[in-house]
Symmetry: C3
Subunit: 213 residues, 3 copies
């Protein structure tokens, strides 16, 4: 159990750092915000999903506030993105990759924490998905973009699949390392396949292709 929560913390911090990088990078590219704006958007992206999760399972104050390592990881990610933004921006794919890392890790930690707080299996899967997509949705709303979770092919789906694997593995009493070691990579692989191969989930019958902006 102690081992489990250790791993949960480490994974949470990895996801927080990745989303901090992603949010800050997005901010620099989309709006060219100043240092405070970049830090703010980076930390909101990084911490938003976890805060939402903790509010809904009533784990308050949120881990973000009770353990300062979260804020540190988020800020570190945002600062790295801010100061390295010029070279990094050549690699647009990095934004997508960091987002996919955060997504993959948070769907597992969200689902696992929900189980620990006594929620049922299906609910834990949903909460894992919410944790994974929450921060990025907040980021997009703040930048006035239609949220990725609405328009992107395979964004919510891999998060729910990852959370589902995590819940299934937990029911089989597999160790936490196994749970995370399978669920997160599967989520990551599905998400990146969607990006690379531009896979689509079906649109409403009789409709042409989606109009994005």
């Amino acid at each position: 159990m102690a081992e489990s929560s250790q791993l949960l913390l480490v994974l949470d911090l990895v996801g927080t750092f990745a989303f901090g990088l992603n949010g800050a990078l997005t901010a620099v590219r989309a709006v060219r915000l100043d240092l405070v704006g970049v830090l703010t958007l980076g930390t909101m992206t990084a911490l938003g999903g976890g805060i939402l999760r903790d509010v809904l399972i009533q784990s308050l104050p949120p881990a973000t506030f009770s353990d300062l390592a979260y804020l540190g990881a988020a800020a570190a990610g945002a600062l790295v993105a801010f100061f390295l933004s010029l070279p990094l921006e050549r690699f647009t794919v990095l934004i997508v990759v960091f987002d996919a890392i955060g997504l993959s890790v948070f769907c597992v930690t969200g689902a696992t924490k929900a189980l620990e707080f006594g929620l049922g299996g299906v609910q834990a899967v949903l909460l894992g998905g919410l944790t994974a997509v929450g921060g990025g949705t907040l980021r997009d709303v703040m930048l006035r973009k239609v949220p990725t979770v609405l328009v992107s092919d395979l964004y919510a789906v891999p998060a729910l699949v990852g959370a589902g694997i995590a819940v299934g593995a937990a029911h089989l009493d597999l160790g936490p390392l196994v749970v995370a070691g399978v669920a997160a990579p599967v989520c990551f692989a599905i998400r990146m396949s969607g990006v690379v191969f531009e896979l689509n989930v079906p649109t409403a019958p009789g409709r042409g292709s989606r109009e994005q902006d």
Copy 2:
């Protein structure tokens, strides 16, 4: 009391289904999202108001998560809208009607649940209003529209009136069926009158007509 919470649940599910339909229909028409996007926006519209209510009265985890019937009703509404979107879209008025049904039911259930959790009368009216307008506001923010509650004539007002009737009737110890049977139709009637007759509440003195988009 058991009868009351039975009725509350049924009404909540009706409102959830109606908002699921409305959110998904709005999504298909506004952005032509894919299946996952439509399901996501439909369920967010359907569940957003109730989650907000449950967080604020500390009924956690929210009913949405503890009782899967909510998710089922929301997803059912969204799926119906998705697969029937082509014929349905001819009837623009249906979007408004489903929204009005959700509004009318949620103002009652929100106010009633707030009373059950010990809030005062005025607070229960406010919370009923918040429950009713919460999901639609989330929907509009996600689609980058100025929320209906800000620009629409008679949207918050009927919700508050409906919640007020529900609270008043509860203080008079009328049965829950009477409460809902009066409050929800009154809210619905006011809302639809506003739509049909384009009734306006006054704008700031010395101003021309509102500019919407």
Copy 3:
């Protein structure tokens, strides 16, 4: 202690009134909403930060709902702005000033309430900042503007400085009047200096000036 919470309440109401004025004034100018829309946006701006704070420290139902004075102060501010909007709009600076007053007061009350609920010093500073910028961020999202906290020079910084002074003074056991009397004016002075002198915090290296809208 009783003195402290008395002062906290008075300050909270002052901030609520100021943000109610600000939110309503912004609404009238930006979208020319009707009376209900102006009231709604005014109260959301005024109450959003405090509700966010109370959810995160689990002081539920939020003070906004348990003490109706908050709603009264918010609505009073919004109504004043609505009926005086024509003469007031000549003084654009008033919008900024009311916003700065709300910011300065809420960073202090947010941090102080967080300390009273047992949060650590750093967390209390963060929560004070969140309380201060929360309502305005909600206002901007509802009106589809990039939130001030992201694009404005010196908005989050003075809020965090004010909260930091409040937490530091509380640790030194200075009386609540001293805490508020120093922290809030310092925050206000920094914020207004930023506005008046157009001070900038640094943007990402190698970048031109920010592009706002």
